[in-house]
């Protein structure tokens, strides 16, 4: 949506990293103030060390809104899905604002190219991925539900 940071990887933004982070921090802070409500954060300076949980007391649904607004702001330049893919609710909420800002700055500076990301693909599409696994005879297989229940309810020492 926004092309302000539409940089190719070998183009450094004017002013360097610190300037980019400062601009992103300002933008993220503005989004947060809008989502949380100015009256709550009026006396709170939002900085890199500000915690979403302990400082801002952000609800998890508010973090969904923040992610949505950041996607609108930065478009395909920043892969928020990839960023959040490995985190749980608690990890997300316990992040500091600086972690999000640094990630966005990395993306904008081209330090995190989309092609560099690890992409989980069906094993069948990965050459050779299945050969070793199929050779194993001790693998856990999906068992019928009745067997699972029987195993679960059987007396255990």
């Amino acid at each position: 949506m926004t092309t302000e940071y539409a940089l190719v990887p070998d183009e450094a933004p004017a002013g360097g990293r610190a300037v980019v982070e400062a601009r992103v921090l300002g933008e993220v802070a503005a989004l947060l103030r809008d989502i949380i409500g100015e009256e709550y954060v009026i006396d709170l300076e939002i900085g890199m060390e500000t915690s979403f949980n302990t400082d801002l007391e952000l609800e998890s649904i508010e973090f969904v809104t923040l992610a949505d607004r950041m996607r609108e702001r930065y478009g395909d330049m920043v892969d928020f899905v990839g960023f959040l893919a490995g985190m749980g609710v608690d990890e997300v909420i316990n992040m500091k604002v600086g972690q999000v800002v640094s990630y966005i700055a990395d993306c904008l500076e081209g330090r995190r190219a989309r092609d560099d990301r690890q992409i989980a693909r069906p094993a069948a599409e990965v050459p050779g991925a299945l050969e070793g696994r199929r050779a194993r005879d001790d693998r856990q297989i999906a068992r019928p539900a009745a067997e699972v229940l029987e195993a679960f309810t059987a007396p255990r020492s």
Partner: protein, 315 residues
């Protein structure tokens, strides 16, 4: 925020496109969260982004009255929930069968949707579904009682007023309002039990996940006995909140379920010290005659339970 008008209700929807863009055959995953003290964020963070990153087209939405969706005064019964979901999928232009993933009462909704619209469902993942052939409404009453007790105690009120903090206070106040100002309690009490005959005809693969320490683990047996194509996973040392407790494993399990089912199911390894128990007061809870009465008998330990189980409970 994406809002969609579905069945006359404004629903908050977040669609996470598959990594690399939509591809022919990308599985469409639709998540259905639990009731009252829950919203789409539980799925959005636990599974949504991960499955989109793995190649699924993920749709998370807030049920009516929850999260950022419109809070209507009435219309929380199963029939309206089914109509909301069907209308949302139509509004989004989804015309291929979807993989429904539900948690708690959201799983009950998902199963009902699979029975009502089998041609629209590719698979069902049911995480801790309340499942009874008789007395499902009473089971819902028991779950709501747990929530009500957690929200209605005088000491909870004092805690909210003095020290609960912004996020917890907002979540709790919202749930109180939902229970007090809408017909959700009556609507959930009217939940009709599943028909064994209809379940026997269900021709959709089902993945059911329960916590071994869940207060409703006993209901897994009936589900697996009556649903033909059912893969059951029981995670020992986990409770009704298994979606949150074991999110990392469930991410792997869902990737296997969607993309790699011919291979072996991922093995669960519990981390050190990661054991969860359902508090006794939850197991012993009996529903009050009137769900709007905030002080049922035998609930004096609600304040302790809130501390043990955390303030967030979903049904």
């Amino acid at each position: 925020m994406a809002e969609i008008l579905a069945n006359g209700v404004r629903l908050h929807v977040q669609r996470l496109p598959p990594n690399g863009g939509p591809q022919p055959g990308s599985p469409v995953v639709v998540t259905v969260h639990g009731m009252v003290m829950d919203n789409m964020s539980s799925f959005y963070f636990s599974l949504g982004n991960s499955l989109a990153h793995a190649g699924a087209d993920v749709i998370c939405y807030d049920l009516r009255g929850h999260g950022r969706s419109e809070r209507t005064p009435a219309g929380y019964g199963m029939a309206n929930s089914m109509a909301d979901l069907a209308a949302m999928l139509e509004a989004l232009g989804v015309d291929s069968p979807v993989h429904l993933v539900g948690n708690s009462y959201g799983a009950t909704m998902a199963l009902t949707y699979g029975l009502e619209f089998p041609e629209q469902v590719a698979s069902l993942t049911l995480i801790e579904p309340p499942f009874l052939i008789d007395g499902l409404g009473a089971e819902m009453a028991r779950s709501l009682t747990q929530v009500l007790v957690g929200l209605s105690d005088v000491e909870v009120e004092q805690w909210l007023a003095e020290s609960a903090g912004r996020a917890i206070s907002r979540i709790t106040r919202s749930a109180q309002s939902l229970l007090r100002d809408t017909s959700i309690a009556q609507d959930m009490l009217a939940t009709v039990a599943f028909s064994p005959e209809r379940l026997a005809c269900l021709d959709i693969p089902v993945l059911a996940v329960y916590g071994g320490n869940s207060d409703i683990i006993g209901q897994a047996e009936g589900l697996t006995r009556l649903v033909g194509d059912c893969t059951l996973v029981i995670l020992e040392h986990h409770t009704h909140a298994v979606l949150r407790e074991a999110a990392e494993y469930l991410r792997r399990l869902m990737r296997w379920w969607l993309f790699d089912r011919e291979q072996s199911m991922p093995t669960y390894t519990r981390g050190p010290g990661r054991a969860f128990d359902t508090p006794e007061w939850v197991t012993l809870m009996t529903p009050p005659v009137d769900l709007n009465s905030p002080k049922p008998d035998g609930t004096q330990r609600a304040d302790h339970a809130a501390a043990d189980a955390g303030p967030v409970t979903s049904a």
